[in-house]
């Protein structure tokens, strides 16, 4: 179930350098420009072929924008474009054990918060706040791992050296685990069914 490489190089599509550090404002601006040029609304009365082509182009820009906006998919794309496997490499020793503990801990938090829900008392509010705080922490930890990846990658690029995958792949593994744990916890805390 590996995602296939995207049809186009998202960096090239937006005219951005192949680096982890992305100028967010420039990316947003480029998407706006793409919209003005390619959005199907601009071709509403054009011939069908032109309309469909515009739709394809705009969809490609939107997909590339999403891929570059998310630091995790951006990091994975950098590896793929360099011909490397973003899911390869060995997990660091003890890593899986740590992550499983983290997951269990979060499950407990969620269960606690949910079982208290509807309860007006202060401890219910506290349980929920506690769980939400953990969501924020997971997010920070994930960003930290990704930023570390990004620094190593960009430094290697500017020094024209090969990045050390033994160090970098575990960072991506960690970021992915942290994200799925965070998603799980947020989902459990969502109001409604």
């Amino acid at each position: 179930m590996h995602p296939t490489p995207s049809a186009e190089d998202a960096f090239a599509l937006f005219g951005l350098p192949r680096l982890y550090a992305v100028d967010g404002a420039a990316l947003e601006q480029a998407l706006m420009q793409a919209g003005l040029r390619w959005h199907p609304d601009r071709y509403a009365l054009a011939e069908e072929a032109a309309r469909l082509q515009a739709e394809d182009r705009m969809a490609a820009f939107n997909q590339a924008h999403a891929e570059l906006s998310d630091p995790l998919t951006r990091a994975e794309l950098l590896l793929r474009l360099a011909g490397l496997d973003p899911r390869g490499g060995q997990a660091a020793p003890g890593f899986l054990m740590d992550m499983m503990e983290l997951r269990e801990d979060c499950d407990d938090l969620a269960r606690h918060a949910v079982s208290m829900a509807g309860n007006e008392e202060a401890c219910a509010v506290e349980a929920r706040l506690h769980a939400q705080q953990r969501v924020a922490e997971l997010h920070d930890d994930e960003m930290q791992a990704l930023d570390q990846f990004g620094r190593l990658w960009d430094d290697a690029q500017s020094a024209a050296t090969t990045p050390d995958l033994e160090v970098m792949n575990p960072l991506l593994h960690k970021a992915r685990y942290l994200r799925s744990t965070r998603n799980q916890l947020s989902l459990a805390l969502r109001p409604g069914p």
């Binding site: 296939t4 706006m32 609304d41 069908e48 705009m58 939107n62 999403a66």
Partner: protein
């Protein structure tokens, strides 16, 4: 396959077609509107009598063509089981999804044969919600042709609004409905987005706008960011089954309980009573928007019920508070999805008739911590925005571009019933995504894909959009085939799925089938009929409408004629004359003459309406027509 005559093309590919207007249509739960963008800007088109709202009601008299709008609404209590209201809430839903609403629906529902999709049971045939929507759209189209003084065949393109939270099935059904009405959908626009466009034309400047749209049957909240001429939707959330109808239902349920206690009857068992209770509850709700308390009145002489109760705003607020809280939960979600704090919102805009309810207005203002704007008529703002978007697409509005998102994630069911998401909710549209899959059994030559939409982790908790099979895979060990699945989502939010085995080149492709309970042959036949109807003379249509309306009023007067004894001699004489003229009008074909007869009968029956009202309440009834009252009086 049925042979059909060749239909004139609906495609706008140059030539005269491009001179025809693009309508902006708000297809609402309780009412619809049609607007255009022309030299004067966006404007709502009115009927000859000045009315702008088209009640989203279709009634099927036992003989003759269905009637739509005001005429149909007037038949609500007269023919409840064949008068279809709030059908937008049924689109794409099964009976199981609608269980708690059936208490206030006056018509019977069944599931379409073999699938869980609600259809209306008229006895002699089933009608799909998409067909009802098609009738309403056809009415909007006729109204536009009349207002613009164009022949009907020159009015055939439209921008149609849908709730932002509509899923693929509901969007497909809407597109199908437009086809039935002889309209090409140039673009489907999300309702809150359209509203933001309407507001923007007058007030340029705000950077980040929240649109809170609570209509008769659906709720949406969207966050938009404006940057120069580009309007970008950041996130959207909502509920396609939450609206003013649910507010009404709280009143109906309260009253039904009191009536049950007093008279030992289940008043909601009778469809006519359900329709009358619903209309009475709606009136009570509207009064409560500007008064501290309001009376709920229900009479059913046949059952010996003469019921009246006073509802004060505190009680009403208590009933609707949980519903309003659900909308605030969605507001919270949308802020979270957009990663924006409530304080960063520059402007909050209220859309939809239900935002007139004071509790709603207050709760929204409090949530976003700023006064919510409502200076544009909340009933009209979506239609006006649809017209603006029509202007954008037609090239009259050049400095505006809309970038919208899909409300729900799209994915494929994987082994074990989990969902692999290909397109996440709030992705900008048009969108595309690819994912690789493989087999899990040696020698497997076919793979089934189950396409789902929704946020839940298990496919069984999401909406199923369709299943398709990729056949003819070369026999290979498990895990070797590389099957690429590609999703493309167009600018209307409609999905197309392609699958391809990369080694052998085996490919299959589907556009997710619309699931509105119609077969292709039925759609073609209806399309054919719709086209013929569309060609029908507008004045014949008007005559039919007037005649239907006349029947309704005659019925109302006859039903309450016992009270005529209380009238003064001159009043009674006038009423009798008017009634006689009305009964004798079967041969009249001139619409203006018919209109005269109808107006006279309505006016002559005012004194009778006043007497009727006296039985119940001392309220002033100067503006009440007798057909408005009969619901309370039967």
């Amino acid at each position: 396959m049925i042979e059909l005559p060749v239909l004139p093309t609906l495609q706008a590919d140059g030539g005269a077609a491009n001179d025809s207007p693009i309508l902006g249509i708000d297809l609402g739960t309780t009412h619809s509107l049609v607007a255009v963008y022309d030299a004067g800007g966006a404007r709502v088109l009115a009927a000859a009598d000045g009315s702008e709202l088209i009640p989203s009601v279709v009634s099927y008299p036992r003989a003759g063509a269905p009637v739509v709008g005001r005429v149909a609404l007037d038949r609500s209590t007269l023919d409840p089981a064949r008068t279809i209201h709030s059908s937008k809430r049924l689109i794409g839903k099964g009976l199981a999804d609608l269980a708690d609403q059936r208490a206030t629906l006056s018509y019977p529902l069944v599931d379409a044969p073999g699938r869980s999709l609600a259809m209306i049971d008229l006895g002699e045939r089933l009608v799909s919600p998409a067909e009802i929507a098609g009738q309403i759209l056809a009415e909007a189209r006729r109204r536009a042709a009349e207002a613009l003084k164009l022949p009907l065949d020159q009015v055939r393109r439209a921008v149609i609004t849908v709730p932002a939270y509509f899923d693929d099935t509901q969007r497909q059904a809407t597109r199908e409905a437009a086809k039935l009405a002889g309209l090409e959908v140039v673009r489907m626009v999300n309702e809150p987005t359209a509203a933001a466009l309407a507001y923007d034309l007058d007030h340029r400047g705000a950077e980040c706008v929240a649109v809170y749209d609570l209509g008769g049957g659906t709720f949406d909240v969207s966050l938009l960011q404006r940057q120069e001429g580009v309007f970008r939707v950041l996130a959207t959330a909502g509920d396609t089954c939450l609206g003013g109808d649910d507010f009404d239902r709280t009143i109906v349920e309260h009253a039904a309980q009191l009536i049950g206690e007093k008279y030992q009857v289940d008043v909601l068992a009778d469809p006519a009573a359900r329709a009358a209770m619903r209309l009475a509850a709606e009136r009570t709700k509207i009064e409560l928007s500007s008064a501290e308390s309001a009376d709920f009145v229900f009479h059913d002489p046949a059952a010996g019920i003469a019921f009246r109760t006073t509802i004060d705003w505190r009680m009403f607020q208590g009933w609707i508070a949980p519903l309003v809280q659900r909308t605030l939960d969605a507001c919270f979600q949308v802020l979270k999805d957009a990663e924006i704090e409530a304080d960063a919102i520059d402007e909050v805009v209220l859309v939809g008739g239900s935002t007139r309810v004071p509790l709603v207005k207050a709760a929204v203002s409090q949530f976003f911590n700023r006064p919510a704007r409502d200076e544009l008529d909340p009933d009209k703002v979506v239609a006006l925005g649809a017209a603006v978007q029509a202007g954008v697409l037609g090239g009259q509005v050049r400095d505006l571009l809309l970038l919208d998102v899909t409300p729900l994630s799209l994915g494929i069911e994987t082994m074990g019933g989990a969902v692999s998401k290909l397109i996440n909710r709030n992705s900008p549209i048009p969108a595309q995504a690819q994912e690789g899959f493989t087999t899990y059994v040696d020698g497997q030559t076919a793979v089934e894909f189950h396409v789902v939409q929704g946020e839940r982790e298990l496919a069984s908790d999401c909406r199923s959009l369709g299943r398709f099979v990729l056949r003819g895979l070369p026999s290979m060990p498990a895990g070797l085939p590389r099957i690429g699945v590609r999703f493309t989502l167009d600018a209307d939010g409609i999905l197309r799925v392609r699958a391809r085995e990369q080694e052998s080149g085996t490919a299959t492709e589907i556009e997710i089938q619309p699931k509105h309970g119609l077969t292709d042959a039925e759609v073609e036949k209806m399309l054919h009929d719709a086209w013929q109807n569309a060609e029908a003379d507008l004045s014949a249509r008007r005559v039919a409408d007037l005649r239907e309306r006349l029947t309704t009023v005659i019925h109302a007067v006859e039903k309450s004629y016992a009270k005529a004894a209380e009238l003064q001699a001159n009043e009674r004489e006038r009423l009798e004359d008017a009634l006689e003229d009305a009964r004798d009008s079967a041969e009249v074909e001139d619409p203006d003459l018919l209109k005269g007869i109808l107006d006279e009968l309505e006016e002559a029956s005012y004194p009778l309406a006043e007497r009727l009202m006296h039985q119940v309440a001392a309220d002033a009834v100067k503006d009440h027509k007798i057909s408005d009252l009969i619901g309370e009086e039967q």
